[in-house]
């Protein structure tokens, strides 16, 4: 928990984006329209 609290905004953005990429890669996230 302490380590998570120490993470900066940049790291959270990277984690969120890479998680999203993994979910898309393995078809967990459905088609994302624009």
């Amino acid at each position: 928990m302490t380590t998570l609290r120490k993470l900066t905004l940049d790291w959270w953005a990277v984690i969120a984006a890479i998680t999203a990429a993994i979910l898309v890669r393995f078809n967990v996230l459905p088609h994302i329209p624009w």
Binding site: T8, L9, A16, A21
Partner: protein, 350 residues
């Protein structure tokens, strides 16, 4: 670059309630951004149905306009403020995801060109801002903060440099005000100038990425011009952001020598601490795309996800404290400084 994620002021709350407290503001950003997207589509449909040749005004401008209307009329209620402040998170997540639209070879090629231009831009803007600071008789540390803010990446660079050169809060808040006021101006002026000059998407994107100070405004200015221009603006701005550690380190060493105090001990650790980590995420996603980790539809999905993240960003940029506030703060400082005095010590950004 090392700001922590925006969360409500009450740090004693457990993690889940803190995250829940972000939801109203994020919902507001989504609503403003989506309204912008709907407005763009509605105007296009109306023009098509009535055979009118209306200019295509991008959702970016509508999202910004709606955000400005909210923040300058009813204001952003306290309930929404924590969530609205997450716009920088969406910006950085959007940039990382945008990496999927670049092949690593293109990044190295375009990034190399951008870095060469960044070197020129750094030298010119630091020299110009230093000369202006002397002419306006601003304090040397305020001048340094303005030079760093205008040459690299706006607010993040000023915050990073403030601690490194031991500038006071008042100087930092005025430097931030000036940079944001310039950013607000550039956001609307750059696309207009670009269209007037007939710049290509590539040329405009590079120009916006190199000259607009804040990352959010640079991305928005690029997106206002065209989707392709936004891509180049993000790449040029990311190359510029990557130099933040070197410039702040240079300033820290200069000010340490000038004030006879101990310079930065571990320069490598300092550079790593100041390095914008989202650049690494951007490169990683681009590497994965280059290696064929994603299919074409998946690349399109991730690029769309990046657009949604930017949609929240653009609504959030305009929902910050009023642009008029920034401008008046920046002007107040400039008017007082030549008299060798300073305005009120109070600052809402402390």
């Amino acid at each position: 670059m090392s700001q922590t994620i925006a969360i409500p002021r009450d740090m004693d709350l457990p993690a889940l309630p803190r995250l829940l407290a972000l939801l109203p503001g994020i919902a507001l950003l989504a609503a403003l951004g989506f309204l912008g997207k709907l407005t763009e589509q509605s105007i296009a449909r109306y023009a098509k149905a009535h055979h009118l040749a209306l200019p295509n005004i991008e959702y970016v401008l509508w999202a910004i306009v709606f955000g400005l209307i909210v923040s300058n009329t009813i204001g952003v209620p306290a309930l929404f403020q924590a969530g609205v402040a997450t716009y920088e998170f969406w910006l950085k997540a959007g940039i990382v995801l945008l990496g999927v639209r670049f092949l690593l070879g293109d990044i190295l090629k375009l990034g190399g060109v951008s870095l060469a231009l960044v070197a020129v831009e750094l030298a010119v803007s630091i020299a110009l801002m230093t000369a202006l600071g002397r002419w306006l008789k601003l304090s040397p540390k305020l001048t340094s903060l303005l030079a760093i803010g205008s040459s690299i990446c706006g607010v993040s660079a000023i915050i990073a440099a403030k601690g490194a050169i031991e500038a006071d809060d008042e100087d930092a808040s005025y430097a931030i005000a000036a940079i944001l006021a310039l950013g607000a101006f550039s956001l609307f002026a750059f696309p207009a100038i670009g269209h007037a000059l007939g710049l290509s998407d590539h040329a405009f994107g590079l120009w916006a990425g190199l000259a607009v100070d804040n990352t959010a405004e640079a991305t928005a200015a690029g997106a206002l011009y065209s989707d392709a221009a936004a891509k180049f603006a993000v790449l040029a701005k990311t190359a510029r952001n990557a130099t933040i550690g070197f410039v702040v380190l240079g300033c820290a060493v200069y000010w340490a020598r000038k004030s006879h105090r101990q310079a930065v001990q571990n320069k490598a650790a300092f550079l790593w601490q100041k390095f914008p980590k989202f650049v690494l995420g951007f490169l990683l996603i681009s590497l994965l795309a280059t290696l064929g980790a994603f299919t074409k539809p998946q690349i399109a999905d991730l690029a769309n996800l990046s657009r949604w993240a930017f949609l929240l960003t653009f609504a959030g940029v305009a929902s910050r404290p009023t642009f008029a506030n920034y401008a008046s703060r920046a002007c107040t400082r400039s008017q007082w400084a030549p008299l060798g005095s300073s305005p009120s010590r109070g600052s809402p950004w402390r």
